[in-house]
């Protein structure tokens, strides 16, 4: 059952000049959240930020009833949200969307860029529970974009690429030497980030002949399946990213990456 709740901001922690962690106190018990699911947050009452904004769950502390989001400031809503103070409330609708498929065994590669790292803490936890090995590959423009590496390293190795070479290997995520390992050690790839990056990663998964799941960030008006604004073209026709996604196996998308 979806919930609509007023939550109190308990903490906002800035990680660099444009990314922060938003921690919310939730009034009721938190349901089980699957990795990849998201919430729609209502930010204030300004006419400029009219619609809610979708954000993946970074983490949940069920015992202390806290939800944590990782948010990148990109426009007016994410700016305004970052300027709120502890004690102020925001209204959220959650949990929304589907989730990543977690295999029973294997060794997976998890690729994140920009705000696209958010769903991967919960995913790391799930994979660890199942005993699935994992490696994180995080990409950014510069070293200061590479965040939360200490959190990810609790679940697996962390590899890094930066476009300016200030941290890790220089280049895009798909330029990383891990993709030249022979034999390729991974059984599955997960990716979240800017669409060109996800497409490039999906192309890699084709070359390596392993499945790939991506989490899409389509524009959403409602987030719960009533407006049909968030669609993506799939082999089964146009599907809503908010209800049938945000996570899709790339073989369902019409990205033509395997051509």
């Amino acid at each position: 059952m979806k919930r609509i709740q007023d939550c109190t901001i308990s903490k906002i922690t800035w990680l660099n000049t444009d990314s922060y962690l938003l921690e919310l106190d939730v009034p009721d018990e938190i349901p089980v959240l699957a990795p990849g699911q998201f919430a729609e947050i209502r930010i204030g009452n300004s006419p400029d930020v009219f619609l809610r904004r979708p954000f993946s769950f970074l983490d949940a502390d069920v015992e202390n009833r806290k939800l944590v989001f990782f948010i990148k400031r990109i426009g007016k809503g994410t700016r305004h949200l970052g300027e709120l103070h502890p004690g102020e409330t925001v209204n959220i609708i959650y949990p929304l969307g589907n989730h990543f498929q977690v295999p029973e065994k294997g060794n997976v590669l998890i690729v994140g860029g920009g705000s696209g790292i958010a769903p991967f803490i919960l995913l790391g936890k799930e994979l660890q529970k199942k005993g699935v090995g994992m490696t994180f590959l995080l990409g950014g423009k510069a070293g200061s974009d590479i965040l939360l590496t200490d959190r990810f390293s609790q679940y697996g190795d962390v590899l890094i690429t930066t476009e300016d070479g200030s941290k890790g290997e220089k280049g895009m995520v798909t330029d990383h030497s891990v993709f030249t390992s022979d034999p390729f050690p991974f059984t599955m790839i997960y990716a979240c980030g800017p669409e060109p990056m996800m497409k490039a990663v999906a192309r890699m998964s084709c070359l390596k002949n392993i499945p790939c799941e991506v989490s899409l960030e389509n524009l959403m008006a409602c987030g719960f399946g009533v407006c049909l604004c968030c669609i993506v073209e799939t082999t089964e026709g146009n599907l809503c990213v908010c209800t049938e996604g945000p996570v899709f196996n790339t073989n369902r998308l019409k990205w033509q990456i395997c051509a």
């Binding site: 009219f50 409602c222 009533v226």
Partner: protein, 304 residues
């Protein structure tokens, strides 16, 4: 508790609050948030004879106090609706009203005939005002002869309540309303979205894939109110007011201007509970104003 019941054609609604087509799916998603028995009716997503994939992405742009959409009537067609969706929603404790769309008069007629077989659809809303499909929709709603012809043709095959949804993208909405009334409609719903546009200055590109789209939300409320008022002045048919209704006060404004009922649209995206809150708020207003029946406020605007 005041009496909130209102009558639209042959339908009695338990309260004047309904949900607008295209903003409430088929009601099932909203039923996850509240009991549909708490509102007067649900206008389901626009139906067409054949399945439609709708327009390409992006289909949405946020604007000041509103949004543009160019969904373009994506739906799986009437046969899929009849077979798969109708059985799941027909026993909701509220009126399920079908939103009927076509490219030709025959489409509207065929669709209405198919809906005739579904017992629990007490009314249809003829959408002659969709700004997002090239081949029809609004084309019918912006000229009196075509609005009249499509209404008359459907009237011949549809005996239950016939609501015609009017477009605001016209020179004088009163002319269209009168043409539709004369052709046999039982009620009007208005307004559909206003044709609008958004531009991304950095990319120097339109935001929507279709370039233009339909504007909804509080940004259009003053226009919608004016049009409801104008139509109420010239016609005695019941009006269902639509356009930027976010709370009970907005709804009451429409009723004072002449609407017998209202539809909540874009507000649902921001607060899925808005329809129930509005129904409750109308009840409180009536008590506060010493009214025993909601009908006392319909068209009760004082202009002297």
């Amino acid at each position: 508790m005041a009496d909130l019941r209102v009558t639209i054609g042959q339908m009695e609604l338990r309260n004047p609050v309904t949900t607008a087509s295209g903003t409430c799916g088929f009601g099932e998603e909203l039923a996850e948030f509240f009991d549909p028995g708490r509102i007067g009716g649900i206008f389901v997503k626009g139906l067409t004879l054949k399945p439609r994939e709708g327009n390409p992405y992006p289909r949405m742009a946020e604007t000041a106090s509103g949004m543009l959409n160019s969904v373009g009537l994506q739906n799986k067609g009437i046969d899929y609706f009849t077979e798969h969706i109708y059985p799941r929603i027909k026993d909701f404790d509220t009126h399920i009203i079908a939103n009927v769309n076509g490219s030709t008069i025959e489409d509207y007629v065929d669709l209405s005939e198919k809906l005739n077989r579904l017992e629990k659809i007490p009314a249809i809303e003829l959408n002659i005002s969709c700004p997002n499909v090239r081949e029809g929709g609004m084309a019918f709603g912006i000229s009196c002869p075509s609005a009249s012809a499509v209404t008359r043709a459907v009237r011949e095959v549809w005996d239950r309540t016939l609501i015609v949804k009017l477009s605001p993208n016209v020179t004088d909405i009163r002319d269209i309303a009168l043409a539709v009334e004369e052709a046999g409609a039982d009620a009007f719903s208005l307004i559909n979205t206003l044709l609008g546009m958004a531009v991304d200055a950095e990319k120097r590109r339109p935001v929507l894939a279709t370039i233009t789209g339909g504007l909804s939300g509080p940004a259009i409320k003053p226009i919608a109110l004016r049009m409801v008022w104008q139509v109420a002045q010239v016609s005695r048919l019941p009006i269902i007011g639509i356009g930027g209704i976010m709370n009970a006060t907005d709804a009451i404004e429409f009723m004072l201007a002449g609407a017998s009922a209202i539809q909540v649209g874009t507000a649902i995206f921001i607060d899925p509970l808005a329809p129930v809150k509005i129904a409750e708020g109308i009840g409180e207003y009536l008590v506060r104003h010493g009214c025993s029946k909601v009908s006392e406020i319909i068209g009760a605007l004082r202009v002297d």
